[in-house]
């Protein structure tokens, strides 16, 4: 992740990994997050979305579902999962008058 997201904020924490018991993971199942095939990538993805002011988060999520449904044909049945892992991020578009 780029530096901006990890720049100092009070709630940023640093962790040290501790090993309890060494264990190997098998390559025959599962997939590292960065290696997922596109369909899996979309189903296990988040969009950091700049939501426009006006439409509700629900509406925007519905649009996105539709947009991606058209795209990844064959995944329409699993949109529930997509919906779950999707987070709609932003509150409103930039304030206009004040600046």
């Amino acid at each position: 992740m780029s530096p901006a997201s990890l720049s100092a904020v009070p709630w940023l924490r640093e962790f040290i990994p501790v090993e309890r018991e060494r264990s190997e993971t098998s390559a025959s199942y599962g997939c590292a997050p960065q290696d997922r095939p596109l369909g899996q990538h979309i189903l296990n993805g988040v969009i950091n979305l700049d939501k426009p002011a006006g439409p509700t988060s629900h509406e925007v999520v519905a649009w996105l579902k539709k947009m991606l449904d058209v795209e990844v044909a064959g995944h329409s049945g699993t949109l529930g999962i997509t919906g779950k892992s999707w987070r709609d991020r932003r509150v409103t578009r930039l304030y206009r008058e004040c600046l």
Binding site: L12, S23, E24, T25, S26, L38, I42, G45, D50
Partner: protein, 239 residues
């Protein structure tokens, strides 16, 4: 996600003008631990709650309007915060506009608009070019970067996918430090998010204790069946 700190930029509209010093003093009173009763129209019980406000920065003040940057704990109502600041100032205030600029590891600078999403989909459809869509849609693990992770063995993954708690013996590695009751991310050794849960003990204890339940599973993210089933249900026992 509703677990990490948030940052907002908000416009506070005071109902009468106050001096700079007065405003700064009032804002200062709301930094640190604050007590807040959720507003009438809210989706949680209206009990007074304790929340931490990390900082309030005055970006700009013009007449009765103040543009503020507020960093706070998740579950803080900014609209209410500004209302309460108005009460302390004795002039009243309301929140005119609000924008979230940071949520856990996700920041405004790295956000995408609906147009970006549409364009990425267009690219994919027209030329099978995945690069844009992979930029716009990120692995969900990135959104959870600020929470401690607990890495479990392959043999424990499917049980957790079915909602089981994580047992000490299923753990291979863990991030330290965290406290008892803290939210944690349960991951496979490949780094995939399996579930979100709550630690039943501190990281210190979790790295030394020999057996027991380590994490109560709250939200399962990975689909059951992704990893092979290596556990037996009670009904199957003794057969």
């Amino acid at each position: 996600m509703h677990l990490c700190g948030k940052e907002y930029v908000a416009v506070a509209e005071l109902h009468r003008q106050v001096g700079h010093e007065e405003l700064s003093d009032a804002l200062g009173m709301f930094v640190g631990e604050i007590y807040q009763r959720p507003p009438l129209r809210s989706s949680v019980a209206r009990r007074v709650r304790k929340r931490t406000v990390y900082y309030i920065e005055q970006l700009e003040v013009e007449d009765r309007r103040a543009l503020l940057r507020i960093g706070c704990e998740s579950g803080t109502y900014v609209r209410k915060l500004i209302h309460d600041i108005g009460l302390v100032l004795g002039v009243g205030a309301h929140m005119a506009e609000l924008r979230r600029t940071r949520d856990g590891a996700l920041v405004e600078q790295e956000s995408f608009t609906l147009y970006d999403v549409a364009e990425a989909i267009q690219d994919l459809r027209a030329s099978k070019d995945e690069s844009k869509i992979r930029k716009v849609i990120r692995p969900l693990e990135e959104a959870l970067l600020l929470l401690p992770s607990i890495y479990i063995k392959d043999s424990a993954v499917d049980a957790v996918c079915h909602g089981a708690s994580v047992s000490i013996r299923g753990i291979s590695k863990l991030d330290s430090p965290f406290a008892k009751r803290e939210p944690v991310v349960v991951k496979s050794l490949k780094g995939e998010c399996v579930a979100l849960g709550r630690a039943t003990m501190s990281s210190e204890l979790m790295s030394t204790i020999e057996s027991g339940i380590a994490v109560e599973t709250r939200t399962v993210i990975m689909r059951p069946g992704t990893y092979p089933r290596m556990w037996r249900s009670h009904g199957a026992r003794g057969r």
